[in-house]
Assembly symmetry: none
Homo-oligomer: 225 residues x 2
DNA sequence: ATAAGTGTTAACAACTTGTTAAACTTAATT
DNA sequence: AATTAAGTTTAACAAGTTGTTAACACTTAT
């Protein structure tokens, strides 16, 4: 299934060009030319990514984004802005995963941004329930079950475990984990992460084929043999 | 070690302001006011990112970028352009990882771009893997594998090996290696480098067609026959 | 022949990580 | 409003890893 993109752009010419280009790149693009139409589309369907022009006729991109968030806290939103009303608002909004692009931009640039953006968020998403060795993680009750018993994880324990699981094929840099879960990266957050790794190892100790391996000075990798 | 940025901007006032701002953000900025100076700096040291004004007195930003690429095919370059000569040329250049920013821009915006940019390239970098003779280097787990076994390298060992590999067609000056990996160049760092070369040779000894050759008084070159 | 540059090893200092426990924060309950 | 409880962060210390330095042997250039 292809990636669904909601594109909101009031200039019909530009909107068409962008949609056309992205469609050729195999994205499934829905184009809306005003805020209300976009609102309906968003609450009607589900999208992997939204591209919002900040300056729209009735409802501006920011308030639109705000209402999107009430349905889905995680949709990545890429704002399109003209020079001028840039950062103050954008950085203020900054719902974590969002990004922006300044007009005029090339299609190539837009395409790059989208790719980077989707990769970034897909890393975080991934499966919500999964089996890991002889354990079973249920993303709904955020609990780990095993013959030996069931342990309900805390929110953060679950986030760390999910992130590790969704990247079990590679080494996650400490910085990546911290930015992704703690939102920032300082010495104490780093120590906090170590505490969580320590806890997770304890929870997972009944299956020695599961190892959270440290790469000194780099980060961690979940290995399941 | 902080991120090294080469900033090329002919307007001394603007150049100073940008440098000053970025310096406060903990970047290590080298400012050049013309193309020739920039060229020297680039071939003398090594940078994590270049910010090039497109309109420069003698040599314009694009041809400068082209010559930068002859030394290093991977440096991310952020072009600064004035309104007008934007996309056609830029998209034409399109060396993959490059980006551009339109004047006038705010420091905040520049800062955002740099961050996104560096994050993008650092994610790609980590995954650098290559085969070297009968060895395989995995940039993710920073390990060297061979029939004879697997050796996980340290961060610095991996950095030195990667640098050598990426420049296997030429002699790397000691100074270049030191500035690039140690960030500076003094007697003891030089001795430290020798220790690392020694270690790498030991790790690579099972394939005699791989040689780290010393060029007396100059530097090293990785040769794979 | 001499001085400067390089190869190698090993000891030590600096830093990173693992772990436990105490301190703090927040939200719910009495 | 005070008490409890759960979750997270900070502190402390032990253990492990890495980078630098010093020392000495060897090589290259003058």
């Amino acid at each position: 299934m292809s990636t669904k993109i909601l594109l909101v752009e009031d200039d019909p010419g530009l909107g068409f060009v962008i949609k056309d280009n992205l469609t050729h790149k195999q994205y499934d693009v829905t184009l809306c030319t005003d805020g209300e139409e976009a609102h309906r589309a968003f609450f009607d369907q589900s999208f992997d990514l939204c591209i919002l022009d900040v300056m729209l006729p009735k409802k501006d991109g920011f308030s639109l984004a705000q209402s999107f968030r009430s349905k889905n806290k995680n949709v990545p939103i890429l704002f399109v802005t003209a020079k001028g009303l840039i950062e103050d608002k954008i950085t203020g909004f900054e719902s974590g995963g969002d990004d922006y692009i300044v007009k005029p931009f090339s299609m190539e640039e837009l395409y790059c941004r989208i790719e980077v953006f989707l990769r970034r968020t897909s890393i975080q998403e991934g499966a919500t329930s999964f089996s890991i060795g002889s354990y079973q993680f249920d993303g709904n009750s955020i609990s780990l079950s095993h013959d030996k018993g069931l342990k309900t994880l805390t929110q953060k324990e679950a986030e760390v475990l999910k992130l590790l699981y969704n990247n079990k094929d590679r080494v996650l840099k400490r910085e990546e984990i911290l930015k992704s879960i703690w939102g920032d990266d300082d010495y104490f957050m780093g120590r906090s992460l170590d505490v969580f790794i320590s806890k997770l190892r304890k929870y997972l100790k009944y299956d020695p084929s599961i190892q959270i391996v440290n790469y000194h000075g780099v980060g961690f990798r979940l290995e399941i043999r």
